[in-house]
Symmetry: C2
Subunit: 137 residues, 2 copies
């Protein structure tokens, strides 16, 4: 556990925003200005391998990281891309309900998507403006 790794883990524990590697780099750089991006990547990888954090592949081309290694569910805004944790208790064990397909099932990833309250608010504002504009014609 080097100084760098320690700070990376600490910073990741501070937030619930599921940052990308680059975001983690910026966060950590405030405390360790000389840390290199490669070090951030390597430590995030190692921490994920050890089960201390989680790697999430939810927005396509870039990885996101979650300081909470517990299996839990995410919700992503399709407009702004933010990712939040949600509490979701499956009524039956989902994994038990799919057995006879040859796979040995080890876990699952569940992600809901929709519009977050902020983006919905912005939609309202846009609609109001639109209405105003039209009434002027």
């Amino acid at each position: 556990m080097t100084k760098q790794r320690k700070v990376i883990l600490e910073e990741l524990h501070k937030v619930t925003s599921h940052p990308t590697a680059d975001m983690v780099y910026e966060m950590v750089r405030k405390r360790l200005p000389h840390i290199s991006l490669g070090t951030v990547y390597r430590n995030l990888e190692d921490l994920a391998d050890q089960g201390e954090i989680r790697k999430l592949s939810i927005d396509g081309t870039r990885m996101r990281f979650d300081g909470n290694p517990e299996e839990h569910t995410h919700i992503r805004c399709i407009v702004c891309g933010r990712v939040d944790d949600i509490h979701f208790a499956p009524t039956v064990s989902m994994q038990d309900s799919i057995s006879d397909n040859g796979y040995k099932i080890l876990g699952h990833k569940l992600e809901f998507y929709g519009k977050c309250s902020e983006c919905r608010k912005k939609d309202e504002i846009m609609k109001a403006k639109e209405k105003k504009r039209k009434s002027k014609d």
Copy 2:
């Protein structure tokens, strides 16, 4: 609907392997040897926007594409990376069970992971070899 787009869609409908853009390119190239990779990317994007196909972000850094646009569940092998469709019927509407978080929920992505039968078979073979080797000592 250009010739290129038509062939891309047809080839994607032929398989259940959830190919990457590059794999689609190779598949399509057999029929249209002069198609460019950029055209494949653009059409996959457009087809996904129109809801004809689905973009999947399940293996981290690269996108995969699914000729079946219906909401359904995937299972991925953590060893070889293959992705299969599975039939999964949630007992209650999962989306209804998470409401009061400010999000307007539009859908979900569910992915199970585990080991596919082929990789498990390989494991067995490896174990058998290991045993044999040890008994020789």
